[in-house]
Symmetry: C2
Subunit: 396 residues, 2 copies
């Protein structure tokens, strides 16, 4: 009774693999600041549960495979605020951004097809692409350059006969790097010249700080036939447990392929869709508030990180992640040290080692990802513990 | 910009493809009795929305990838009523039975692997298996034999070096055929001899009529290491829009493979899981009531079908479907006739042509599937309309 070889070769979540060691630290009475996971503490807007509580239907029936019309309409109105025009037929509601990505890869890729992604990247892209029989080809970026990759030579160097698409996650997880609209145009140009699809994962769209404008590949009509936008309520509305994502494209042939896969899984949760329809109706002031909150946290994290001699990191422009190079020999060993040997007044800290975010073997061993999902005081203390931990670790 | 060839080769839902013609009939003022879809009119138990309405959590956070512990515990208690013992580690909560099947195939199959399924079968199995790179090999069954297939010669004739699993849907969609525990044992024996997995789709488990007992492949401990049970709240609790399914197995290596895929999509809807936990706590009297309702409908449908000269059909033992051979040359043509040319007092009827449920080309052209998802009076009228329609169709 053999199993699937491709799943056998997949890894367990590198973000979750240190949980048992963290649990031991907690069992021993240590307080652990969790900067390792992307689950924000920001409250889900009340409109989500309010809409669900007032949903009256004697039969919780199948929704349309493409999504509940009230949610599609709400999404259309949301995009209109950015002068982006979509129709219902351009939008398929999915079980989170994860399903949107899985369906995209399944609908696009043939066995052996390659997909370009800047590394470090969100590890589950491996799972999604592998499941579809494809292969991730990384465009390596560097802490010293703020993890930027929107350069023609850097991208074109990785394009082969098998390259089918380029995935752009902006604002990015795990780096927080944001593409400008000019950079998006360059990528659009390259994609057109090499006949590639653009998979634009924009689930952090509003979380762009300082003087950055909200941008989207959907703002480039000249490339509309090759752009696939991935979206989700998880981060924008701090509703990770409402599994509502969106797969959006104006390419009808592609959407027709996706619809076959969507019909196979019938539909997405009806009550979550009812709640999500209310979320997308929130006023722009909601985003301003949340953005201000995260931006404040970023500033605190960056300020504290800069107090650590030898840290390499540029101030990231968006999302709620920061990746940095630490002055330690091995970040995984350092994390295990933090959890099992170190404490400051009974407290320690946890982050995600960045090695798992790289596809190229050997890279990222001295980098970590921080998710700034806690309040400012906790974030400040968390990064302080990293600083104190490094001092202790390097003195051993 | 090419697309995935395997998705390109997939079909759109054969159940839904006649919807535009039905819509035209309705636009022209005809009343259409929908016996074509598996969406029951039975009310979802109030406990589902009640549990959700009282769910108080300021952050709708990610659930565990394997499922919310309260739901897993509720499922464990549900199975204990049948003396079946599962632990949390045996249970992964999925987005409906559909995701449980998709994850099963992805975790089991290598490209070219074959999966046996008795035909006619639920069409989406094609989508699930194809997505995973596998191939469905049909075991053909016949209306004259009540669509039974649990015979050693019939099953073994289809086993090759590439056969990886046998899928048993019991009670069955679209035939309503139910396996006895002895038949399950025979299939277990064959699976053991040929080293196959058994994928037991038991989402209609309680809907077994007459003197039939509730059965499950999970009642056979001697085959527990090769049994994968697929379950769902959709049909049992008339909660199709609550996308909650279950993937259950005692094979730890398999479950470990599945968990990698499950971690990739993070988790299933938190609020749906809260509601589903309440559903699985319903007393056995709930199933008795629902079963009595469906059994009454089945009797009406069978009684009316037997009034049609030339119909071939055995009274099915479970689920809420019936497949029958009709005395017409071509059931798809007949359906189009019913929708576009026929009416009786302004009324007509719609069913699912069975051809789409067969993998073998040419089979099922004179068969239809009825879903008895309407009340008895409507079901009686629906089948009467089929009878009147056949008379008119064959007189043309």
């Amino acid at each position: 009774m053999k199993l699937s070889e491709k799943v056998g070769a997949m890894q367990f979540s590198p973000i979750r693999k240190f949980n048992p060691i963290a649990q031991k630290a907690k069992d021993a009475g240590k307080k652990v600041y969790h900067l390792n996971i992307g689950q924000p503490d920001v409250e889900t807007p009340d409109v989500f549960m309010d809409a669900i509580r007032t949903y009256e239907n004697k039969v919780i029936a199948y929704a349309e495979s493409g999504g509940l019309p009230i949610l599609q309409e709400s999404v259309i109105d949301y995009f209109k605020q950015y002068d982006i025009n979509f129709e219902k037929k351009d939008i398929i509601v999915t079980a989170g951004g994860s399903e949107a990505l899985t369906m995209t890869f399944i609908s696009l890729l043939n066995p052996g097809d390659e997909v370009l992604i800047a590394e470090p990247f969100y590890t589950n892209y491996h799972t999604f692409a592998t499941t579809a029989g494809g292969k991730v080809v990384p465009i390596t970026t560097k802490a010293e350059e703020g993890y930027h990759y929107a350069k023609r030579e850097q991208i074109e160097a990785k394009i082969t006969d098998r390259t089918k698409a380029i995935v752009c996650i902006t604002p990015g997880n795990p780096t927080g790097t944001v593409l400008t609209l000019d950079e998006m145009k360059l990528i659009g140009e390259i994609a057109k010249e090499h006949d590639l699809w653009i998979i634009a994962d924009e689930v952090y769209r509003e979380f762009a700080y300082d003087d950055r404008k909200v941008t989207s590949f959907a703002m480039l009509p000249e490339y509309a036939d090759r752009v696939i936008v991935i979206d989700s309520v998880s981060k924008r509305f701090s509703a990770c447990g409402a599994r509502i994502g969106l797969l959006i494209s104006k390419n009808e042939e592609f959407m027709s392929n996706v619809m076959k896969v969507a019909q196979g899984r019938l539909c997405v949760s009806t009550v979550d869709q009812v709640g999500a329809a209310a979320l997308f109706k929130l006023p722009m002031s909601y985003y301003d508030e949340v953005k201000a909150e995260y931006c404040g946290r970023r500033d605190v994290v960056y300020e504290e990180l800069m107090k650590i001699p030898g840290v390499v990191c540029q101030k990231p422009g968006g999302a709620f992640y920061m990746t940095a190079k630490l002055p330690v020999d091995n970040v995984e060993d350092f994390l295990i040290f933090l959890l099992s040997e170190f404490d400051d007044n009974g407290e320690t800290v946890m982050f995600a080692p960045a090695e798992g975010f790289y596809a190229t073997p050997g890279l990222g061993k001295d980098e970590m990802r921080i998710a700034y999902v806690l309040n400012q005081a906790d974030m400040r203390r968390g990064v302080e513990l990293i600083r104190l931990g490094i001092e202790a670790y390097n003195k051993r």
